[in-house]
């Protein structure tokens, strides 16, 4: 297939179709409504189902039902909508169902704004809903990668029978870039012997997250944990951009911020500055080992996010003792141009920036 110039949101919709997904349930919210506006036309062409739900609460529970009935299904939303889905995401994780969520993040908390943000990192990687569960989280930094991640998300969701989230931001959703769809994106759906499709001659299939017996619930929790252990071993994804050499400053950024950081890094490297980037692609599982190893080659680390500091906590946890960790964040929908990041890197190089300490910033300042 030839390259097509597509808006991120539309490309995400097409990627789901290419991945063989025929069931989409959603509720409009900026900045991702174009996914729905694309699929309302596209799904009928492939005999698929498009349904506008009455709310995100309903949309996500429709995914619950559809997935339990054994089909590929996904939704897209943006931050406030994902919060409403948090309840059912917890149920879906508990019931071990493959479902794909796309969150095109906007600023929060609350109604916040509609411009790009990366402030749902905690929600995506650490829970969001109640209970002991994880989403597998992928963070694209180009429209092409958004396509690849949506397709991969269906595979991983089915491989682990676990919800997977593709975490982009308003910029990925709104921008147009050339994309290429893989020649054979549709993978064979796995056997779903657990699906509720009518008993016929076998014993009852039951999709549930309720285990009143302590031992049974513990068994389910441990089963989930075993999956997360496998994910942490097998599904870590990241990119090193000049990060396998000695660095004066190592930048860590994901998604949109990573590509902006690359431009800053290119400019500095042209001037002979030793700076590289580690880009987590899977946010859960977090590339802990890669960050630790690369940070060992760096004199200082600078984490850049469209938040006031979320992923930086994982970087702190992953980095070896003694490497100073700096943070630069922009929020509210303000996107730092590469020049801002270059300046921040220069400050770190020039010893003009204060690293994050053990006791928080207020303590440091006083």
């Amino acid at each position: 297939m030839a390259k097509k110039l597509m808006k991120g949101n539309e490309a995400i919709g097409e990627a789901a179709v290419q991945a063989g997904c025929r069931h989409y349930f959603a509720y409009p919210i900026t900045p991702q409504t174009e996914v729905a506006e694309y699929l309302v036309r596209r799904m009928p062409e492939v005999d698929g189902v498009f349904l506008q739900a009455e709310s995100e609460v309903a949309a996500s529970n429709m995914l619950f039902g559809a997935s339990a009935a054994g089909v590929r299904t996904f939704t897209s939303s943006s931050s406030p909508g994902i919060s409403l889905m948090a309840e059912s995401i917890s149920y879906i994780a508990g019931a071990q169902l493959p479902v794909v969520y796309v969150n095109i993040m906007r600023g929060g908390p609350g109604l916040g704004g509609i411009l790009p943000a990366q402030s749902d990192y905690f929600q995506a990687t650490k829970g969001g809903g109640h209970g002991d569960y994880h989403l597998l989280v992928l963070a694209p930094s180009t429209v092409q990668e958004a396509v690849d991640h949506v397709i991969l998300a269906f595979e991983l969701a089915e491989k682990y029978r676990n919800p997977v989230m593709v975490l982009g931001d308003g910029m990925i959703g709104q921008m147009m870039e050339p994309v290429q769809f893989p020649a054979e994106a549709v993978t064979e759906p796995p056997d779903r012997p657990w699906a509720t499709v009518g008993m016929k001659n076998r014993p009852q299939n039951l999709i549930r997250s309720l285990f009143l017996n302590a031992d049974e619930l513990e068994a389910n929790n441990l089963e989930l944990r075993a999956k997360y252990d496998l994910m942490e071993r097998d599904e870590v994804r990241f990119e090193f951009y000049h990060a396998d050499e000695e660095m004066d400053v190592m930048v860590v950024a994901y998604g949109t911020m990573a590509r902006i950081a690359k431009t800053a890094i290119d400019a500095l490297r042209a001037d002979g500055v030793k700076v590289g980037l580690v880009r987590p692609i899977s946010l859960y599982p977090f590339p802990k080992r890669a960050v630790r190893e690369a940070a060992g080659r760096a004199k200082a680390v600078l984490v850049v996010e469209l938040s006031t500091g979320q992923m930086v906590e994982d970087v702190e946890w992953a980095a070896p003792e003694g490497v100073p960790i700096h943070f630069f964040g922009k929020v509210g929908g303000n996107i730092p141009p590469p020049e801002d990041i270059s300046e921040e890197i220069s400050k770190v190089l020039g010893g003009k920036a204060t690293p994050r300490g053990l006791y928080g910033r207020v303590e440091e300042a006083s």
Partner: protein
């Protein structure tokens, strides 16, 4: 000699220029609410609750205290405020996506409990703010960005008649549907809005006024064509008039 002022800005409105599109009737409805609050002397004891929708910024335009609710949850916030302080005048101002889609549960249960606040429900048959998606109130066959071939009632059902739905509840309430597409209709709508606040002032009952409104931008019509569309397309499906009164026999 000083000229007598016969028309001015109600005290309950600020003089801020609204962000509403040309020809949108949200502004008229704001005015009717404000005039009613003025006339009943309620402004200083009123708390408005803004929805998520084009009226999300209503708090800039009303000169009274305001709260901004999550999408669809205004009746729950109103319940909290009114139960906490029964002497307040509390009203929500909600669009059809906000009230009749994501917020149906909050609406029905507030009405059924007989919460003594007022809902001003602006039905423009579309999601205005997000750029024209189908609402539960979208007319059969109406083209929107998520019903590009027109609303298909076999797939998504018929438009929800909120006023009639609420009127079926046994709990006493005041429910009326009005429109603002002609001066004559505006005068009548004013009477209904004021009536709702009068019932609240008297501590009588839950009140809901459904107001048919325009969205020229997302209907893809001129302001004048929009007014005509209300008359010709919406009125036959959404009959105006009183649906329920607290004086009805139960």
């Amino acid at each position: 000699m000083t000229a007598a002022t016969i028309f001015g800005t109600p005290e309950s409105l600020t003089d801020r220029v609204t962000h509403y599109c040309p020809g949108c009737t949200h502004g008229i409805i704001h005015r009717l609410v404000a005039e009613s609050l003025d006339e009943l002397g309620l402004r200083e004891t009123t708390v408005g609750i803004a929805p998520v929708g084009c009226a999300v910024l209503a708090y800039h335009y009303f000169a009274c205290d305001f709260q901004e609710a999550p999408h669809g949850r205004a009746p729950a916030l109103a319940t909290g405020a009114k139960r906490a302080r029964p002497d307040l005048t509390v009203f929500t101002y909600q669009g059809d996506g906000d009230l009749a889609s994501i917020g149906t549960a909050e609406l029905i249960h507030a009405a059924n409990r007989g919460e003594k606040f007022t809902i001003i429900f602006v039905n423009n048959a579309i999601y205005g703010m997000t750029g024209g998606q189908m609402a539960p109130t979208t007319m059969p066959g109406q083209v929107t960005s998520t019903s590009p071939a027109g609303r298909d009632v076999d797939q998504v059902g018929y438009p929800l008649r909120v006023a009639e739905l609420i009127a079926t509840l046994r709990t006493p309430s005041y429910v009326e549907r009005v429109s603002v597409h002609t001066p004559h209709h505006i005068i009548n709508a004013k009477r209904a809005v004021r009536q709702a606040f009068e019932y609240q002032k008297a501590g009588r009952c839950f009140s809901l006024v459904e107001v048919l409104s325009t969205c020229p931008t997302n209907w893809g019509l001129t302001p004048l064509e929009s007014l005509k569309w209300v008359e010709e397309t919406m009125l036959p499906y959404y009959p105006l008039g009183l649906k329920k009164s607290p004086d009805d026999e139960v």
